[in-house]
Symmetry: C2
Subunit: 460 residues, 2 copies
């Protein structure tokens, strides 16, 4: 292997190849809780050409490669391998172009999501993806995991923001799929193959992203609803009234609301305790019109019994106060020991029945367990977090219970975090053997030596 | 081969297997002008299970398969092969489910686009894709070509409408990728591979499609602009003001307007003759607000010289009259002998320069040629149609001229119609050898015997 490392140093420069203790700890594990692993070497190329050279050398020496972004992943997809190299994109963080006229942005994959948001904002535009790890998460990692987050209802996930990608394959071939056209039906849409592939098909080095006009006004509402079907009906009415202006529809079950208020020492938002709270944002050009739209929906919804109580924020401070309840998720690591977090999706009509069935199964198996239910319902995405200390630390039993139920409801074991290592045992709950065989065939076609992040998503 | 045909008859039933003159003429060629070819047999399965059996038999006998939808394609992708079977989906046209609450629709691939639109409309919803051939084009064909059309600016192409697909691979394996979640990050997003693959990777048998709230109001404007950059600035201001409410932004060059008015014996819409006309639709819940939004943009745009003259439709009849100019494209086959139609896309900022350069090159080579320029500018899509009789019938020369120029401008030789047979010689203008090699690798992985629509998009 010393010849291999030497050839990397010769090709990339000494400063781009670290080994042993010179590898910073943050490259040894992501945020998922997987055990840290020290790779053979950490590569920090400065250009697409250097990524290509590095991958060619790895192919020549049959050394596996684990691409790394900001290491904020929650599924273990960026965990290094002891006999492989880690390839960090953190020196490739240029925002190369922001084109306000066509609302596009060209960026190197190592730029943070936040830096893309800021570059868009400087031109009066908006990047459609946002999530908590924005300051560390890199564009390449967000693409490799098809990240979602707060803006999905309005703008979709990373896939929907992507007009083009530049990707380097395991053999060093560069695919320059960066043409900025909205419409481009010239054979297979290759870039789609790499979005959400968690680095197992190639290394994303650059991206051409869509931007959106920045909304100039927002209206926020907190509404108590009697049951899940009422929440779904409210969502439907909001979408009919506001169309694409509906920017958020978050649903919080009572268990979540109670924990969120307690952790943050907040007061109950309504006089009565309600089974479910919906948090709604509308975006648009005119605040008065947005408030009117909320009222147009709210009045008949209350008459029809779909909404039990509601408040439309009359100031930004009040809107922030409503959102503070939802953002209690940042407190999970402090108040659960530790939290076991699920990120599942389900057919939208089934989420209520799933939550009821899941809570009943948890109650039966671990009486007194602490679990909270909440989610981006408009995206069909439900989060469940359980305090491991309240189930006797039986994380494996919990995962089997939840994912088996997800399988029964024809749901997905990963809505947005990806499979990585963490959910690999459960992928079969959401994919058939024929689908997994097709994935393996594609993997073999683009990475015949199985050197690109091997063992992530599925085994060979 | 008689044993093969017999085994098909035994498996599918006599009525599902036609040969010789029993094959209806419409199965011999699509709308692209390719010469008709009589296949070995026409298969008309009634179910996914029958499609699977048929493909398994074709694989056993090493017989190529050409999937067929409504035969309205414009690139020759559905042209049969004399030594292969044609597989028509026209008996699989059930709309299986419309779920108004989650705004999704499940449909067999042989249903027409129009039947999907009507099923959505019956529930007060809208299907986001619409184009002229809606009454004949089938969902499967529209997916296989990633069709675009009139609604792309607001809703995207077929890809963006697709939550799930059921696909049968060449070996008969069924991929049931029909889970209805907006978010589903469980390994590779396999369905993406088949959208736009023109039937070369498998047969799409069912689709789960997104629907949208039907807009209740529309406002329409016709605006004369001095040049392309002014049109782009107007587009940008409209998007900033109306956001996703901007439903159409069509641009028509003077040559198109003049031909359109002449063919349909319409009067000039403005007192002066202007270099470019933009046709704009805004959709939303309230007609008065939409008109106000148009006026909000129009007044400063006229002051700034971006708009020379404009009219906001005051009635549906007036809106239809504006659109009649744009819809003169239906007259192209009558008035050009015959028309040679280009469907290219370009970086949005470059469309004006491309149109100028293209016209200059045509003028230089074929003085007196009749060509019209128009397009869905908001989608980066430009159409050019030239009367072949005015260039001495030199279609090949014309194609080389236009596609070479598209390559020079880093554009796409096919925005929405696809490659099929027709544009195969020009695919290299828009794709690099590395990209083509990756496509071939994927083809080989999913269809190792090269039986699925071989020779379309690229040669082996």
């Amino acid at each position: 292997m010393s010849g291999f490392i030497e050839s990397l140093r010769a090709a990339l420069g000494d400063d781009a190849v670290a080994t042993g203790d010179a590898i910073a700890p943050r490259h040894l594990a992501d945020w998922s809780g997987v055990p840290p692993v020290r790779p053979l070497a950490l590569l920090r190329p400065r250009s697409t050409a250097q990524v290509s050279v590095a991958l060619r050398l790895c192919t020549q020496h049959r050394v596996p490669v684990v691409p790394q972004g900001g290491m904020t992943g929650l599924a273990g997809a960026a965990q290094p391998m002891a006999h492989g190299v880690a390839l960090s994109l953190d020196r490739m963080q240029a925002i190369e172009q922001v084109d306000a006229a066509t609302r596009t942005l060209t960026v190197q994959a190592g730029a943070t999501v936040q830096s893309v948001q800021e570059a868009a904002s400087a031109q009066g535009l908006l990047f459609g993806v946002d999530f908590g790890a924005r300051g560390s998460a890199q564009v390449g990692g967000a693409l490799a995991t098809n990240a979602g987050g707060n803006g999905v209802l309005r703008f979709g996930m990373m896939r929907e923001q992507t007009l083009g990608l530049e990707v380097v394959l395991a053999d060093g071939a560069v695919l320059p799929m960066l043409r900025p056209m909205q419409k481009n039906n010239t054979g297979y849409d290759l870039k789609q193959f790499f979005i959400g592939a968690e680095g197992t098909l190639g290394v994303i080095t650059r991206a051409l992203l869509r931007l959106h006009p920045a909304p100039s006004a927002r209206a926020t509402m907190l509404a108590a609803v009697p049951d899940y079907d009422a929440a779904l009906a409210l969502l439907s009415r909001l979408q009919a009234r506001a169309g694409a202006g509906l920017a958020a529809f978050e649903l919080m079950w009572r268990d979540f609301v109670q924990a969120a208020l307690g952790w943050q020492q907040l007061r109950e938002p309504f006089d009565a305790l309600h089974p479910l709270l919906a948090l709604v944002d509308l975006d648009g050009p005119d605040a008065t019109q947005l408030q009117a739209a909320l009222e147009d929906v709210l009045t008949p919804a209350m008459q029809d019994g779909l909404v039990l109580d509601a408040a439309i924020a009359q100031s930004e401070a009040q809107a922030r106060a409503f959102w503070k309840i939802r953002e209690a998720t940042a407190e999970l690591p402090t108040h659960m020991h530790p939290p076991v977090n699920f990120d599942v999706s389900l057919p939208m009509a089934e989420i209520g029945r799933f939550a009821t069935a899941c809570r009943a199964a948890l109650d039966a198996r671990w009486p007194g367990h602490a679990s909270v239910f909440f989610g981006h319902i408009g995206d069909s995405n439900l989060h469940v977090s359980t305090d491991a200390s309240t189930i006797g630390g039986d994380v494996e039993g919990l995962e089997h219970l939840v994912y088996d139920l997800v399988g029964d409801f024809a749901g997905s074991v990963s809505a947005e975090h990806g499979i990585g290592l963490h959910k690999k045992p459960f992928l079969g709950r959401s994919r058939t053997p024929a689908e997994l065989a097709a994935m393996r065939a594609i993997k073999g076609a683009l990475d015949p030596l199985h050197l690109m992040n091997p063992g992530k998503i599925f085994d060979r």
